[in-house]
């Protein structure tokens, strides 16, 4: 039996950053092949090459043992390769049928546009029924739920005739039940002869659904093993590499309540925040776990002061109402924030490292009055902070912040936010997109802030991160905190809480 898809010696760089180096991969017909690795391991880049979206700088690709060179995504579709991207590639104002028609061979056949659209709608209903789910092809994508949008993506590649199906982090946006349904559907496709490639970083999905698993790390292929016989611990070792000593979390008695949130509701449309109650005490890390999109972002924004429409109360001990405070008042309250969107909310990529560092205290007058900027003072401070917080890759303090790698950009944010001992730290997915080492350093900083007496609210979808850092763990589902667990908490119970209230 020929190998469905084989990639060898693949190299790919982005602006000098090596994303893939000598990466290899092969999938056979009829199997679910998982591609496992951490964020930034190169999984998505490698699969984007297989889907014809990226052109590799070196290496070869084989389909059924024949060498091919893909000119683009349409070329890949002709070779029966289809990819469901992590960030959906759907035109939101279009209906599901219009979206699927776009690249489909039907669109090139004869007949009026209307008749093609009708045929597409019929085909969608039929294939959806075959796979055991429902989808209204006349609904606009913007009106569909995330799970439904993903179905549109899957139908799109299947109806284009894909036999090699690449799913990039399909479970990332789904609830556990939804992803269970989805994964058993694609497993069924593999039983019928297709090659299914599952890009993931979830060990459990690999264990349950994959026939084989290839592990990637740092842009290289590490190994391909059978997940049924390989221990989970071994898979973790392959994924993470040499054991990195995670920072030690010593238990200590927390102080009094620093942040008190009561019945916080967003009064806008939807159910973003639906009555959040939580307390974070001085000297403790409160970890907020949950599947993304259950209101965590809204809560983080509320604490940062971004939306205006909120009911309920939010108090900072000794300093009063946080809900009504302006962003500059929040700074005076010594709140340090590490937002999830590093470049959107925390850094101005086009400004220098020193300016990004100093901006937080310009308002307070540390760097001169309103017309004179004490640049040298800012640069001296920034230099010290960069050194103290070990921000690497700073050739000059005047270089643009956008040139820093993800981990170092995060460390720059932390160096600024922690430069005045904060009373409250809000960290939202602080290690997202960072490699293991940078994550460990970020975690160390959070623990240090806790030990210095700050109240730390850690919001993360990464349960491992929450489990290893938090003193108490809350689970957020549909805009509420549905359960709270003191440490040592059970992973199963937390996972169950996420599912039970979904």
């Amino acid at each position: 039996m020929p190998v469905a898809l084989q990639l060898t010696g693949i190299r790919k760089t982005f602006d000098g950053f090596v994303a893939l180096d000598n990466a290899a991969f092969s999938a056979e017909w009829g199997e679910v092949h998982a591609l496992l690795g951490e964020n930034g391991a190169g999984k998505s880049s490698l699969m984007n090459i297989a889907a014809g979206l990226y052109a590799p700088e070196a290496g070869q690709m084989f389909l059924d043992d024949n060498p091919v060179r893909l000119a683009g995504p349409s070329d890949a579709a002709r070779h029966h390769i289809g990819m469901v991207h992590q960030h959906f590639k759907l035109v939101r104002p279009f209906t599901a049928a219009e979206n699927i028609l776009l690249g489909n061979p039907i669109s090139r056949e004869d007949g009026s546009y209307r008749s093609k659209l009708r045929r597409m709608e019929t085909a969608i209903r039929e294939t959806a029924a075959e796979l055991g789910f429902e989808l209204d092809p006349t609904k606009r994508v913007a009106q569909l739920s995330v799970a439904e949008q993903q179905r549109v993506e899957i139908l799109k590649v299947l109806l284009a005739g894909a036999k090699i199906l690449i799913l990039d982090e399909p479970a990332a946006v789904l609830t556990d039940q939804e992803s269970e349904r989805l994964l058993s559907t694609v497993a069924q496709l593999a039983r019928r002869g297709s090659a299914v490639i599952l890009v993931t970083h979830k060990m459990a999905d690999v264990k349950t659904y994959a026939d084989r698993v290839t592990v990637m790390r740092g842009g290289r292929t590490i190994d391909t093993v059978d997940p049924k016989v390989t221990q989970a611990a071994e898979l973790v070792r392959l994924t993470v590499g040499e054991a990195i000593t995670s920072p030690k979390r010593e238990s200590r008695t927390p102080g009094e309540v620093r942040l008190g949130v009561r019945e916080l509701k967003s009064s806008g449309a939807g159910i973003a925040l639906n009555g959040v109650n939580l307390q974070v005490r001085a000297g403790e890390i409160y970890g907020l776990a949950g599947v993304g999109g259950n209101g965590q972002g809204e809560l983080a924004n509320a604490i940062m002061g971004l939306p205006a429409l909120l009911d309920g109360s939010m108090e900072l001990e000794g300093l009063g109402d946080l809900k009504a405070a302006s962003t500059s008042e929040r700074r005076e309250m010594q709140i340090a924030t590490i937002p999830a969107d590093r470049y959107g909310l925390a850094l101005a990529g086009g400004l220098s490292v020193a300016e990004n560092f100093g901006i937080g205290q310009v308002h307070a007058g540390r760097y001169g009055s309103f017309w004179k900027l004490a640049k040298s003072k800012m640069e001296t401070d920034a230099k010290e902070a960069v050194k103290a917080f070990d921000v690497q890759g700073v050739r000059s303090i005047r270089q643009k912040a956008a040139l820093l790698s993800g981990g170092n950009a995060q460390k720059l944010v932390i160096s600024r936010e922690f430069s005045k001992a904060p009373k409250l730290v809000l960290a939202h997915s602080p290690s997202r997109g960072l490699d293991v080492r940078a994550s460990a350093e970020v975690h160390g900083r959070l623990l240090a802030a806790r030990d210095a007496g700050a109240a730390v609210l850690l919001i993360s979808e990464d349960l491992d991160e929450v489990m290893s850092l938090a003193d108490r763990i809350g689970v957020m589902v549909r805009g509420r905190i549905v359960a709270e667990f003191p440490q040592p908490a059970s992973r199963q119970e937390i996972g169950q809480a996420m599912v039970d209230h979904a």
Partner: protein, 309 residues
């Protein structure tokens, strides 16, 4: 009564350049390319239309060459925004200034300035032209006025009822999705820019060949800019753009009628009204922001495939 009749009969003549230019802009902007260069392309169309009419004396050839010339010039803009990914606002403004200079220069060098064209007039639409009132307003116009309606029908069918139109809109709404579906974002945008430019060139040639019947440097007088505003006003819908063009055409046709009736109204006040209306619509849309409002999702954004998210 006479004033009103004349006013309404003259309105289509003023409305057609707005309508055609706006339609051209809609084509290109629905593919995601913000085209601010309409004023310049209209000048190119106007100049070449007059030049060709002076040289060959055949309206069909003049209009065709004017459209061709505007398309050719738009290739420069297309290269800048598609291949080099220059900021579309800057490239559009540069195109206007370039065309303004180029057309003034050529008009003078070739001695086309102030040369009146003769023998072009209204084409009565059979017996219907003799109908009372309606006949004079609707069926005693020149050929392009009649053609504008089928052009709009065709363009709307193309955009909303054809596979190619669907793809073009996909490129403008979400080029990443279009690319993943195997469409060439660059080629679709190129086609939209060139086809749009042809319509904008036709709008310019209409002004010089049919309305004023001569070439004067800068003769479009900001109508390309009004068309840009009109597209925003129409929220990128061809039919709303046609309605808006008629509205603006009526406003503009009112000036000479009022002057003839002895009403003193500053000309600039009337020229300002389309912009006031456009600003009003933009404020209204911004305040009533609800879901999809017609603006192409990727308008003005250059597309780079291998950008890391």
């Amino acid at each position: 009564m006479e004033v009103v009749l004349n006013w309404l009969a003259n309105s289509p003549d003023f409305a057609v350049p707005y309508a055609l230019a706006a339609l051209g802009l809609i084509l290109s902007e629905r593919s995601g390319v913000l085209s601010l260069g309409a004023e310049g392309l209209m000048l190119v169309g106007a100049l070449i239309g007059v030049g060709a009419q002076l040289a060959f004396g055949a309206e069909g050839i003049s209009l065709f060459l004017a459209m061709l010339a505007a398309s050719a010039v738009s290739l420069l803009f297309a290269m800048m925004v598609i291949v080099l990914r220059v900021n579309q606002v800057i490239a559009g403004l540069a195109l206007v200034f370039f065309c303004q200079g180029l057309t003034s220069l050529l008009g003078t060098l070739l001695n086309w300035t102030n040369q009146a064209l003769t023998g072009i007039g209204a084409v009565p639409f059979g017996a219907m032209a003799d109908w009372p009132v309606v006949g004079h307003i609707l069926f005693n116009q020149n050929i392009i006025v009649y053609l504008t309606v089928p052009i709009f029908i065709l363009a709307t069918l193309f955009l909303n009822r054809s596979t190619t139109g669907l793809r073009l809109r996909a490129v403008g709404e979400n080029p990443q999705a279009a690319d993943a579906a195997g469409l060439s974002v660059g080629w679709y945008r190129l086609g939209a820019i060139v086809a749009g430019a042809a319509l904008i060139g036709l709008a310019g040639a209409y002004m010089s060949v049919y309305s004023t019947k001569l070439w004067v440097a800068g003769m479009t007088g900001g109508r390309g800019w009004i068309a840009v505003g009109l597209v925003i006003f129409a929220r990128w819908s061809p039919w709303r753009a046609l309605a808006g063009a008629l509205l603006f055409g009526c406003i503009e046709a009112l000036i000479p009628q009022l002057a003839a009736a002895g009403v003193k109204l500053p000309q600039y006040f009337v020229l300002m009204t389309p912009y006031v209306v456009t600003l009003g619509v933009m404020v209204w849309v911004a305040m009533a922001k609800s879901g999809h409002d017609g603006e192409p999702g990727a308008l003005g954004q250059p597309y780079v495939r291998e950008e890391r998210g």
